[in-house]
């Protein structure tokens, strides 16, 4: 058994720095490269792509990422774990294989493909069998929006990733794995952590949570002493040096920017946190109140003491459904009385929409530069040098939203003075794909691992 296993994060979401995976394999020794591509809404975007072309539906950036790290995979044995498969892991694997074959990888890659998380084709059967897939926030059953569902995927845990690694895979491609499972899988594989070693599994989850957002734990978006964080243009993405006892060190490669400190790691630990006593995953429930952090040298933080307990018998399901249309228009008003002018423009717009008889489910006006993010807490902003009116509408009727987008520009000549910032043209109408979180019995979700060569 290796004493220390190094798992490096190279992608925190789909759209992250394209060059980060290469920097992570070239900047220092690592054993695994973990790439997280999936946010809540990503699955539905990928589903739309798959509907147009059945050979798509995965994060295409991943193919380039594999190309950029292929020498490390082939020559140094670095293994890559990614949830880039989206709603079509087999197609993702085929594309990766084709790209690698053309670059000297022919016959040398074993790609583990994890499927079984995709519930879309099973939805009606599942609902008929008594799984209501009720919205975890509102309690409404899924039947109310069934005809508008675009994608439905269960969040699956680390088990199939471990299985793929045990089958000799050097690249593992999953669909809707939890972000944390991508880090946990390799640690379980290397250290032989059992399915009931709750404290070990909880440590794997915490390690995964810390690095799953890429550089957000290594100096990016860090409020603590932010002016002093060096060289963010060359920010070092994080890696964990894990040990079999469940302790690990968070660090980054030498000669990179950013910072790893108790403060940067703590900020990431509390990010998107609910009840810290129960961070629920398919593998284990981790207790974040047991985490101990300690400095361990420059850009090194030691993490230990983590406790876990058995998971529930449910899996979370991420359903995406069509939820209408929206558009947001903006205009900028300048001093003097910038806020007052923007407020008058807002009243005029409301009246125009009324006169046109346009009905929306929701209208929101914000005054950027005065109160958009901090509301009344920001205090008196009547003397602001400029204020942007940001006016949004949402509804089921596309034509009404479309009509609204034509009401912004006329205000430039018809409304309050000192207005600018409209060069971008009419606002764009966007179809809303909304997220429906639900739970389902674990027993009905069966994952499958295929190894292709």
């Amino acid at each position: 058994m290796k004493e220390v296993v190094r798992v490096a994060a190279g992608q925190g979401f789909w759209g992250d720095d394209l060059d980060a995976p290469r920097r992570q394999v070239e900047g220092g020794p690592i054993d695994y490269l973990m790439l997280d591509y999936l946010a809540e809404v990503t699955m539905s975007i990928l589903q739309k792509q798959k509907e147009r072309d059945p050979s798509l539906g995965y994060a295409r950036d991943f193919v380039g990422a594999v190309e950029s790290v292929l020498p490390a995979v082939l020559d140094r044995g670095v293994k890559v774990i990614a949830n880039a498969g989206g709603v079509n892991p087999p197609a993702c694997a085929a594309a990766v294989k084709a790209a690698a074959d053309g670059r000297g990888g022919k016959g040398k890659l074993r790609i583990g493909v994890v499927t079984g998380d995709d519930l879309l084709s099973r939805l009606d059967t599942l609902m008929a069998q008594g799984h209501p897939l009720s919205n975890m926030e509102t309690g409404e059953p899924l039947s109310g929006v069934r005809d508008r569902v675009l994608s439905a995927n269960a969040y699956i845990g680390s088990e199939p990733i471990v299985e793929a690694l045990e089958g000799g895979a050097n690249i593992v491609i999953t669909g809707r794995s939890t972000d944390t499972a991508l880090t946990m899988g390799p640690l379980r594989h290397e250290f032989g952590w059992g399915a009931k070693g709750w404290d070990h599994l909880a440590a794997g989850i915490v390690a995964g949570h810390i690095i799953e957002c890429g550089a957000q734990c290594s100096g990016g978006n860090c409020l603590y002493d932010w002016r002093s964080i060096p060289d963010l243009a060359n920010v070092g993405y994080p890696l964990v040096e894990a040990r079999a006892d469940g302790s690990f060190v968070v660090t980054k490669h030498p000669k990179t920017g950013g910072r790893v400190s108790v403060q940067t790691v703590t900020e990431q630990l509390v990010y998107e946190m609910g009840d810290p006593h129960a961070y629920i995953t398919p593998d284990v429930i981790a207790d974040f109140t047991t985490i101990r952090l300690a400095p361990d040298g420059e850009n090194r933080v030691r993490v230990s003491g983590i406790k876990g307990k058995p998971p529930t018998d449910k899996l979370k399901v991420s359903v995406a459904y069509r939820a209408g249309f929206k558009a947001v228009g903006t205009l900028v008003y300048a001093w003097p009385d910038a806020l007052e002018k923007a407020q008058l423009a807002d009243r005029i717009l409301h009246e125009r929409l009324d006169r046109l008889g346009l009905k929306f489910e929701h209208i929101l006006s914000e005054f950027v530069g005065a109160s958009a993010t901090h509301g009344t807490l920001a205090g008196d902003q009547r003397n602001a040098p400029e204020v942007q009116l940001r006016f949004g509408v949402r509804g089921q009727d596309r034509a009404a939203v479309e009509r609204f987008t034509r009401e912004i520009a006329p205000l430039v000549l018809n409304g309050p003075p000192s207005v600018t910032g409209f060069a971008g043209g009419r606002p764009k109408v966007e179809e809303i794909v909304a997220y429906w979180p639900a739970l389902i019995d674990k027993a009905v979700v069966k994952t499958r691992v295929d190894i292709i060569q």
């Binding site: 975890m136 409020l223 603590y224 998107e272 009840d275 810290p276 109140t289 939820a323 929701h362 914000e366």
Partner: protein, 117 residues
């Protein structure tokens, strides 16, 4: 003594559906007790009155010198439904750090707290 949270804590916030979470972390470990004692659930609910529609929950993480607040109904529906600039609750963090608390002078002196400007 009046103390501004920005001067004694840092924070990060994020979203889960229509709920924003704000993790507030003491700048010095010994200041955690001030957060714990004065930044109560009710105090935070009052701070955000008019900005959020639902309840506030508070959790303690003494191991990280941090408190975690859940602000329900904070994100105009949340996710892609929200029309807000801050649809993902990313800057509720610094909005909370605007809070000014009253700490008894003796305690403020003992802990070396900076006074609000």
């Amino acid at each position: 003594m009046r103390v501004r949270l920005l001067d004694i804590a840092h924070a990060r916030s994020g979203d889960k559906g229509d709920t924003a979470n704000v993790g507030v972390i003491a700048l010095q470990p010994r200041w955690y007790e001030v957060l714990d004692q004065f930044v109560t659930r009710k105090r935070v609910a009052d701070h955000f009155r008019g900005m959020i529609e639902g309840d506030v929950e508070r959790y303690e993480l003494p191991n990280l010198n941090a408190l975690n607040f859940l602000l329900h109904g904070a994100l105009d529906g949340g996710g892609t439904l929200s029309l807000k600039t801050d649809a993902q609750g990313k800057v509720f963090s610094t909005a909370l750090l605007r809070m000014v608390i009253d700490v008894p002078d003796a305690e403020a002196k003992r802990l070396g707290l900076p006074a609000a400007g």
